[in-house]
């Protein structure tokens, strides 16, 4: 019995190790987060609020798709707001979950066209490229982080030609250094339990061997004698339950009450061997 339980512990321990391995591989969390938003009818301009790019850290990429060439513009944040004061546009305001970006429509009653939006004297940097345009977040942050003169985070203005929507979809991808926190525990726990089970198994194995040696020599005769008269009835009645190749212990609990004399010992020289009746039932494993 103890060996069964010890073996079960070993199996449990091994299962823990397997779980840990799975946690490192198949069940490992993703190495990047990508937050996406599809903008329907965004207005001629889209503004990404300052700091949104850095929600997942100061590394990553922004990808912007639009119907035509996209101009990525930076300027004083208030200047962008002043420029768009009469225009209906969309702001990307935050990252509510790692998969989405939140947006807000500003000036819903405002104008829907801008004339030559990339040409305003207010803009500090204008980069126009065909869709999809991309921004490297680390490089973008570098421009603000000149040592000794920290600049506030910059908003990003996206426009196309002043009539088509400023952007059709924006996705921001941040790399993630993540691993399942429980993997080391699974490994440690599994190893510990397996080792305990193994030790127990060895101990159980050795104790049961000792028990067998301590039993009186007459016991095997009694067992044979007991097995003899009962063999016939046990074969006739128990034969359907006996599975070839299975250990005798499987049938032992059934067979014991049926045929083996468990409560009387054959006569032995009382002075030589003390009785150990308490463990007998279990020693028959």
């Amino acid at each position: 019995m103890q060996k069964i339980l010890a073996a079960a512990l070993v199996v449990l321990g091994l299962a823990g190790l397997v779980l840990g391995r799975l946690g490192e591989t198949t069940w490992a969390p993703s190495t990047e987060h990508t937050a996406v938003v599809d903008l329907a009818d965004a207005g001629p301009a889209v503004v990404i609020d300052p700091g949104v790019l850095y929600v997942g850290g100061e590394e990553g990429t922004v990808e912007i798709t639009a119907a035509s060439d996209v101009s990525v513009i930076t300027a004083a944040n208030d200047d962008i707001a002043a420029y768009l004061a009469q225009t209906r546009y969309t702001r990307v305001t935050g990252v509510p979950s790692w998969e989405t970006l939140s947006t807000e429509v500003v000036n819903p009653e405002g104008g829907t066209t801008l004339s030559d939006p990339a040409g305003s004297d207010l803009w500090r940097q204008v980069e126009t490229s065909p869709s999809p345009a991309s921004i490297d977040i680390a490089a973008f942050r570098q421009e603000e982080a000149a040592p000794g003169s920290e600049q506030p985070y910059r908003a990003i203005l996206l426009v196309t030609d002043g009539t088509a929507p400023g952007a059709q979809s924006i996705s921001i991808t941040w790399p993630v250094e993540a691993s399942n926190a429980w993997v080391p525990y699974a490994y440690a726990g599994g190893a510990t339990v397996a080792v305990i089970g193994l030790i127990w198994f060895v101990l159980a194995f050795r104790s049961s061997g000792r028990r067998d040696e301590d039993l009186p020599p007459a016991r095997p005769e009694a067992a044979v004698a007991a097995a003899g008269p009962t063999a016939a009835p046990s074969t006739t009645t128990a034969a359907p339950t006996l599975v070839p190749g299975r250990d005798a212990p499987v049938s032992a609990p059934d067979a014991a009450p049926a045929g083996e004399p468990t409560d009387t010992l054959p006569p032995v020289p009382a002075s030589d061997e003390p009785h150990r009746p308490t463990h007998r039932g279990e020693e028959r494993s």
Partner: protein, 352 residues
């Protein structure tokens, strides 16, 4: 019945299983915990001190486009090509010059000097409100070698920077120190305090002195300057000419009256708390011919061509527009108000 196992062994076994079970449950529960949601949008650092509303990189192309617009318009004699960068008085003055050239070809030499493309010094404003002001000192696109003060203004967020005028720098006059373009300076309004005179008062005084001489400047706040000297010398010379061979002013009197044009104004603080201001002065030089006298010119000049006559019996009027630049010291300074630049343009002539 099987004998019961010893209680200590049972306890050991059960606690072992309990421990193993707890360990596994813990790892499973840890696995089921969710990835942390994204943090709020970070706000980042804020600016320690105000910065210029427009950087050098933003203004340099503006100056270049202004110069290019004037070049193109002058070549075609078409004031329409000045838009959108050149507006207001600058367009008016250039248009009049083209009209004069149409009747007097030699006047085209007036077009030679105008602001060049690459700014020498940029005066940028730190104010973020509109309209926004800036000034540039730019070289002469023509042969004179004397730079121009260029007034720049952005009316609102949707408009480009434009210029309404430029004034050529005065020669042999000390120039004030201005903050670096990366630092920027405060804009100054016509009624700004803290100066020797408010800019509006200073411009009025200058117009008065130009019209009527130093006598108007009782406290001698205004310094000598080439523009004033030249203007007065011209008047005197013409007066002498007109009254040659006669007693003083018996043939005609001559007077030029200057007024400050409303609406054209640019002002920025200097390093010492003073201000550089630019404005437009309109002037009318009137020759009033005395009863019975006749003023006649032997040869046609630009004025007679414009007036359409070489003889005048009543009056003979010439109109000018001048863009001027002044340095006004702070109130507690003992320096004088110093005109530092001026450019005059003939606007028309008439007479009878």
């Amino acid at each position: 019945m099987s004998p019961r196992p010893a209680p200590r062994a049972v306890l050991a076994r059960r606690s072992l299983f309990a421990g193993a079970g707890a360990l596994l449950t813990g790892t499973v529960l840890a696995a089921c915990s969710e990835v942390a949601p994204p943090p709020a949008v970070p706000t980042g650092p804020s600016l320690a001190s105000p910065t210029p509303a427009a950087s050098t990189e933003q203004l340099a192309p503006v100056v270049a486009e202004i110069s290019a617009a004037v070049t193109a318009a002058d070549a075609a004699k078409d004031a329409g090509l000045l838009a959108p960068r050149v507006v207001g008085s600058a367009v008016e003055f250039r248009t009049r010059t083209y009209e004069i050239i149409a009747s007097f070809a030699d006047w085209a030499e007036q077009l030679a000097s105008y602001p060049g493309e690459e700014p020498i010094v940029l005066l940028t404003s730190t104010a973020t409100e509109f309209p926004r002001t800036a000034m540039a000192l730019v070289p002469d696109a023509g042969p004179s070698g004397i730079p121009f003060f260029l007034a720049l203004q952005q009316a609102d967020a949707q408009s480009p920077y434009t210029t309404w005028g430029w004034a050529q720098q005065a020669v042999d006059v000390e120039m004030p120190k201005v903050p670096a373009d990366s630092v920027g300076s405060e804009p100054v309004a016509p009624d700004a305090e803290g100066l020797k005179l408010t800019p509006a008062e200073a411009l009025s005084l200058y117009a008065g002195v130009l019209s009527s001489g130093d006598g108007v400047d009782a406290e001698d706040v205004l310094a000598e300057n080439p523009f004033q000297t030249q203007a007065h010398e011209q008047i005197q010379a013409e007066r002498t000419d007109l009254n040659k061979d006669v007693e003083r002013d018996q043939a005609a009197t001559i007077h030029e009256k200057y007024t400050v044009k409303e609406g054209d104004f640019a002002g920025l603080r200097t390093d010492d708390g003073g201000a550089v201001v630019m404005a437009t002065l309109l002037s009318t030089r009137t020759v009033s011919v005395k009863e019975g006298a006749t003023i006649s010119y032997a040869e046609d000049n630009v004025f007679t061509t414009l007036a359409g006559r070489t003889e005048f019996t009543k009056s003979y009027v010439r109109e000018y527009g001048s863009v001027v630049a002044l340095y006004i010291p702070p109130a507690d300074s003992d320096q004088q108000i110093q005109p530092i630049g001026a450019s005059r343009v003939l606007l028309g002539a008439s007479g009878s």
